[in-house]
Structure formats: C-alpha cells, structure tokens
C-alpha cells in the first residue's frame, strides 16, 4: 500500500523521464541517419511532437505538485499574513475548478476525435485523440495536485488552529 502511494505521488516523474529518453533517442537517431545514412524516418518528427505534448501536460501536473507555476506574487509582499492565506486559498480553489473545466472540455474534444477516428498524416495507424488525451492527464493532474498540496493543507491547518 505504501509503495503504491509512493508510485502515485511520483507518477509524473517516471513518465517525464521516460518521455525525455524516448524523444532524445528518436531525434538523435533521426539526425544521425539523415546525415550519415541519408535516410530519414517520415514518422519521427510527428512522433516526437506527440511526446512533447504529453511532456508538457505531465509537466504541468508536476509543476502544481512543486508549486512552481509562474504567477505574480505582488500581493504576497504587501498584504498582512492573515489575508495572504485567504488569497492563496481562493486562487488554489479557482485553479483547481478552472482546470477541471478545461479538462472537461478536453474530454469532449477527445470524444469528438474518437468518433471521427481521424489519424495523423505521417503515422497513419495512430488516432489523433491520443495526442489530445494528454490534456486530460494534464488538467486533471493539475486539479488533483492543487487539492493535494495547496488546498488540503490549508484546510487542515485551519482546523487545527480552531481546536
């Protein structure tokens, strides 16, 4: 049980390292084969781009866990501490809710692409929804991690203060 929760908490890191390895390998082989063997794979660039979409989306989820998303922290320097936690609470809730909304829209897009059964031009067996599905991971991951690291700790902190 402990092991499973450890893996779940570090899920993004495994995926990112895996994707990076694949992208570097595919593109390095592509450059090598083009200049040395004068042969290039028609699918390599499209494949790397799909990996990049997944890399970005999984990274968004990890960035939420690390609280690293780019934001302006001007108010944090001005407001009294009591207000800062209120603003943080609101912005975390908003982040989670809005990313759930975006995730819901992306599910609809994936569903539409699934119904159309469109495939990539240079990888004819791969359906396009595989790329869009990355967005579901990214947006729901962003919401879940925000709850995990920014919302729940604030709630339990408040409770312990009241008690």
């Amino acid at each position: 049980m402990k092991k499973i929760s450890y893996i779940l908490n570090h899920l993004e890191e495994y995926i990112l390292a895996f994707l990076m390895t694949i992208m570097v390998t595919v593109l390095a082989v592509q450059v090598f084969s083009r200049y040395v063997l004068s042969f290039s794979f028609s699918w390599a660039e499209q494949f790397a781009r799909i990996c990049f979409v997944w890399l970005t989306m999984v990274g968004i989820s990890l960035a939420a866990r690390e609280k690293m998303h780019l934001k302006i922290e001007l108010l944090q320097n001005i407001l009294p501490p009591k207000w800062i936690s209120k603003v943080n609470f609101f912005s975390s809730i908003y982040t989670a809710v809005f990313s759930l909304f975006l995730g819901y829209l992306i599910i609809k897009i994936v569903y539409m692409q699934f119904a159309l059964s469109q495939t990539f031009a240079s990888i004819t067996w791969l359906p396009v929804w595989v790329m869009y599905a990355a967005g579901i991971f990214g947006m729901f991951g962003l919401a879940i991690r925000t709850f995990q690291v920014s919302i729940f700790p604030l709630i339990s902190q408040k409770r312990s203060i009241k008690q």
């Binding site: 999984v58 990890l62 780019l70 908003y94 829209l105 990355a134």
Partner: protein, 430 residues
C-alpha cells in the same frame, strides 16, 4: 471588450492565479459575454494542447536538458578556471572571472537562475575567501547570470521567434555581441568597485602556454557551444536538432569522461528539464488564444495608432516601450512578458523602422535585467539562497551592476550594429 479582457486578466494575475490560467480565464470570460458559444471554449481548450505540437518549440526542453546535465557533470570548476586564467590578475580579478564564467556558461545553458545556482555555490565562497563583501559576491553572480539568455542558446529568444514569427537562428546570432558587451560593462564596474575596496587580484599561474593549458583542461565544456552554434550556422542542424545533439553530447561527456552522471542523476536532470519547459509551454498555451483575440479585435493596430499619435520619433517610442518592459519585468517573468507583449509592441516598432531581430534582442536584455531587480528578481533570490546575505544589502550592491547593464542597453540603442552585425555578416537578415 478590450477592458473586460485586460481587466479580468489583471484581476486574476493579482490574485496570484497561475498566469497561464489567468490568460485562459480572461479569454473564457470574453467568449461567454460576447461570442456566447461553447464552440469558442473548445478552441481555447484545444489551443492549450496544440501549442506544444510544434517542432521549433521542442528546442526548449532539450536546451534545458543540456543545462541540467552539464551542471550535474561538475564542469563548473573548469569553466571558472578559464575565467580566472584570463582576468585573474587585474584588481577584482575573481569578480571579473565570475562574469567571464557566467558568459561561458551562458553559451551552454539557456536559462539564468540555473547559472546562478551552478556557479554561485563555488564562486561566492571563493570570493569571500578573498575578502569580498558577501552581498556583493552574490549580486555579481546574479547580475552575471542575466547574460545567460542573451548569449545563445536562449529560451526567451526561441519563444520570441515563434510568437513574433522571427527567425530563431537570426535571433541567436544577434545575441552574441550584446552578451559580450553586457559582460564588459559588468567587468568595468567590478574593476572600479574592487579598486576602491581593495579586492586584489591573484598572480597568474604562467604565460600564454599556461592559459592554453587551462583552456585545454576545459575543452569538453568549451567544445559544446562550438558544436551547437557551429552546427546551427553551418546549416547542419535546426536549433531543435542542435539541442538534441547537445543533450547527447552532454550525456556522453558527463557519463564517460567526467564520470559524474549516474542513471539517477540523468533521470533527475531529465525531470527538471521537462518541468522547467512545461512552465513556459503552459503560459504559451494560455496565451495563444489571448493573442488571437487581441488580433481579432485589432488591438495591436489601435495601440500602434495611439502611440504614433503621441509621437512619431522612433527613439522616443523605443524608449517608452523599454521603460514599460523594464517595469513589467520587475513583476512578471521573462517568458510571460515576451508572450504577452511581443504581439502588442512588435507591429509598432516595425512601423517606425526597427528590425524584429533588433527588437527581440533588446526585449530579451531588458527582461533579463528584470531578473535582478527587486521585488521579484529570480536571480537575486537564488543568489541570496547561495550567499545568505541580508536582502537589503544585496539590493544596495546590485544597483550599480543594474546601471552598468542599462548603460549597455543605451550603447546598443545608439549603435544598433552591435546586434545586427553578426546576423548581417551571416546573411540571416537584409
């Protein structure tokens, strides 16, 4: 309409909602009010994903990877050695070496704060040992690292190239001389500060042959920029491919020659690179719909007309924009700034006769100076983490260095050739 868009954006950003989501929410709000359809909402969600479906932007994670791998390979020491060999002897020699090392590191890594962390941990204690003021030592590393994104490869320039539809290759070429100029400005200020405070240089270890020997020891680090830039300008690779080849090179050198990289370190470097790249890509995703809305509503043209009705002088318009970007750079990070303001300002400066490459380089420099200005200077915070001096002291010490960098900007404005010379010689711009 414009006021709803901009107003809601500022409201969200002030509440410290992630910038990417702030951009997306303000677009969503406008869609709900004026276009009244879920179809437009789908475009918004779709754009968040398809922004990453781009080969030029894929250079970002790979250049990040080169940096994260190299800083784990223990190359920093050799690079500092090279800096010391050239400038160690003059007054404030170690300070000058710091700047030179920052410049060399800049040619390897595309981001600033990473340079501060990698070099600061070695250089700040070394400067303290030679009686440098701690806050000054930290500030010098922070200011030196602003050169990082100006000398190629550069993440902000890749983003500018894609957002502004400018050649990334030409941008890279345009950054070389301004980067060297910024370094020269810092070394000059450091010389006078050191002379006044009596920070002495160290006797050089030998003559010309000794310098060659030190450079030869750092050959694996120094060869990387030659490989990357030589490959790009030799027409062998695109920037993205150069970044991939650079990553493979860094992997091989770090694992087999320096024997510092283990599987664990490599995967940590990969995760860090991916994480840093997603931060920028997320903002780009949120901004792509925002930019499209601005264009649809003809906001850049309106802004251009408004500014041109104020003044027709190109210099004055450029000064206004630089002033605005400088202030904005104090609060917002470099990438978000480029994504937000390139579509707004580029049409204006083009109209008054500046080249997009010139504006891109100037914009990068100004925003990078923002990384050492309080209140939100990333480099300054990272440097403070390394040197542990009081923040107020660091602000006082960094001020002359900021002025030196600004003097460099003024020089570039007076002599635009500093930016345009290399791209012109290489035939990248006309």
């Amino acid at each position: 309409m414009i006021w709803i868009l901009v107003g809601s954006l500022f409201f969200c950003m002030l509440l410290s909602i992630p910038i990417a989501l702030a951009l997306a929410s303000s677009c969503a709000l406008v869609f709900m009010i004026t276009y009244g359809g879920t179809q437009m909402m789908h475009l918004l969600a779709q754009a968040m994903i398809t922004t990453s479906d781009s080969f030029p932007l894929m250079a970002i994670p790979f250049f990040m990877l080169v940096g994260t791998l190299m800083s784990r390979s223990g190359l920093a020491k050799e690079i500092i050695g090279v800096g010391d060999a050239f400038t160690g002897e003059i007054a404030g020699g170690l300070g000058a070496s710091t700047v030179v090392a920052c410049m060399i590191f800049a040619a390897i890594s595309g981001s600033g704060p990473a340079v501060v962390a990698a070099l600061g941990v070695i250089l700040v204690p070394a400067m303290e040992e030679r009686k440098y003021d701690t806050a000054y030592a930290g500030s010098l590393v922070a200011a030196g690292a602003t050169i990082g994104p100006v000398i190629p490869p550069s993440i902000p320039m890749i983003v500018y190239g894609v957002v502004g539809g400018t050649s990334v290759v030409a941008m890279f070429a345009g950054g070389i001389l301004p980067g060297i100029l910024m370094g020269t400005c810092l070394v000059t200020v450091n010389y006078f500060v050191s002379k006044k405070r009596g920070y002495l240089g160290k006797k050089r270890g030998g003559g010309f042959s000794w310098i060659c020997k030190v450079c030869w020891q750092a050959k694996w680090a120094l060869a990387l920029p030659i490989l990357i830039l030589g490959g790009i300008y030799g027409g062998v690779f695109t920037p993205t491919e150069a970044a991939v080849i650079g990553s493979v090179y860094a992997l091989v050198v770090g694992t087999f020659i320096y024997k510092q990289l283990t599987i664990k370190k490599i995967s940590a470097a990969m995760v860090e690179a991916a994480l840093l790249s997603s931060l920028s890509m997320f903002v780009l995703g949120g901004a792509s719909t925002f930019g499209r809305l601005l264009t649809m509503e003809r906001i850049p043209q309106q802004l251009a007309e408004a500014m041109l009705s104020l003044t027709q002088s190109p210099v004055l318009i450029m000064a206004l924009i630089i002033g605005f970007l400088f202030i904005s750079g104090m609060f917002i990070d470099t990438i978000s700034n480029i994504v937000l303001f390139t579509p707004l300002f580029l049409p204006i400066v083009e109209k008054v006769g500046y080249h997009p490459v010139f504006f891109g380089v100037i914009m990068t420099i100004i925003l990078c100076i923002g990384m050492v200005t309080p209140p939100v200077g990333v480099n300054l915070y990272v440097a403070q983490g390394v040197c542990r001096a009081p923040f107020a002291n660091m602000i006082r010490e960094v001020l002359p260095l900021i002025l030196a960098l600004m003097a460099g900007v003024v020089l570039i404005l007076i002599f635009p050739g500093i930016v345009m010379f290399i791209p012109k010689v290489l035939g990248l711009v006309h």
